[in-house]
């Protein structure tokens, strides 16, 4: 699975280009996340706005990705579509992650503006 990576200010924004994080791609997703967060800013924001379906295997892979960041770095989530939001809410995983409604003003806040591509 190919993830899109963008460093903006003090944050790394990782966008999932695919529409499903399910049992058939959970392991690939987890490996791609490990690669995408191997280095880079402490703050990591995962953009889920293209993902319209996640199952419990996909949810487990997102949790595993956060654990890979260690104690200091944190994984934040943004752009949850309705079913993805429902899975996080029902499993109460919405209490574990910082969840942003959308990407507006998130990573670019330190630069005094909205989301901008720094590259």
């Amino acid at each position: 699975m190919k993830l899109e990576i963008q460093d903006i200010g003090e944050a790394r924004l990782i966008t999932i280009p695919e529409s499903r994080i399910d049992a058939s791609v959970a392991i690939c997703f987890k490996e791609a996340m490990a690669e995408a967060t191997k280095e880079g800013p402490e703050r990591v924001i995962l953009d889920l706005s293209n993902v319209d379906f996640i199952d419990s295997s996909g949810l487990g892979a997102v949790v595993a990705s956060m654990k890979l960041l260690g104690d200091v770095r944190r994984l934040e989530l943004a752009g949850l579509t309705p079913l993805v939001e429902k899975v996080f809410r029902l499993t109460r995983m919405d209490s574990v992650f910082t969840i942003h409604d959308d990407l507006t003003g998130l990573a670019g806040a330190a630069e005094g503006g909205g989301m901008k591509n720094a590259s």
């Binding site: 399910d22 058939s24 379906f53 199952d55 419990s56 295997s57 429902k86």
Partner: protein, 171 residues
């Protein structure tokens, strides 16, 4: 191998007061127990359901529950052996969906339906669970969930109601 859709009918509305009155979809599928076939079968089933014009919330719930049930069969009943078959029968009536799903894999532990407790999130980051959410979601989103071991087969039946007032809110 692609999942086979044995039959998928949208019965005539004018069947009137027959015993099948209200039946709007009757769908049988057979698939190989692999994650890829589960994904394809879900795609085909969602296509078959589309003409019913249901809410995105209901179809999303149905797809999620089916994904959990079918992936459990792949990962546990057949334990990744990738050889088994899954048979799947779905009906939709005005009150909602009914599903009957059968596989020839190993019996559920203790011959019983797994309980679907909330996983414990009151813990350190490193101890956060990466699994155990599936049966919780299945229990939470279905009704009349029943498991039987019959003639060497696992048979799981459940309904997913299509009525907002019957849906489970924070139960």
């Amino acid at each position: 191998m692609h999942p086979e859709m044995d039959s998928c009918k949208l019965p005539d509305k004018d069947r009137g007061k027959s015993e099948n009155a209200g039946l709007r979809l009757d769908c049988r599928m057979r698939l190989k127990a692999t994650p890829e076939d589960v994904r394809r079968a879900l795609g085909e089933f969602c296509e078959a359901v589309r003409p019913l014009g249901l809410s995105a919330e209901l179809t999303g719930t149905v797809e999620l529950v089916l994904a959990e049930v079918l992936n459990n069969i792949v990962e546990h009943a057949y334990a990744g052996a990738n050889a088994g078959q899954i048979e799947f029968h779905a009906y939709y009536m005005d009150s909602g969906f009914r599903f009957e799903i059968a596989d020839g894999g190993r019996e559920m532990p203790g011959g019983l339906l797994p309980v679907g407790d909330h996983v414990d999130l009151d813990t350190d980051l490193n101890a956060l669970p990466e699994g155990g959410f599936g049966w919780y979601l299945i229990h939470d989103l279905t009704e009349n969930l029943q498991y039987h071991r019959v003639e060497g087969q696992n048979r799981l039946c459940f309904t997913i109601p299509d009525k907002r007032e019957f849906s489970i809110c924070g139960a």
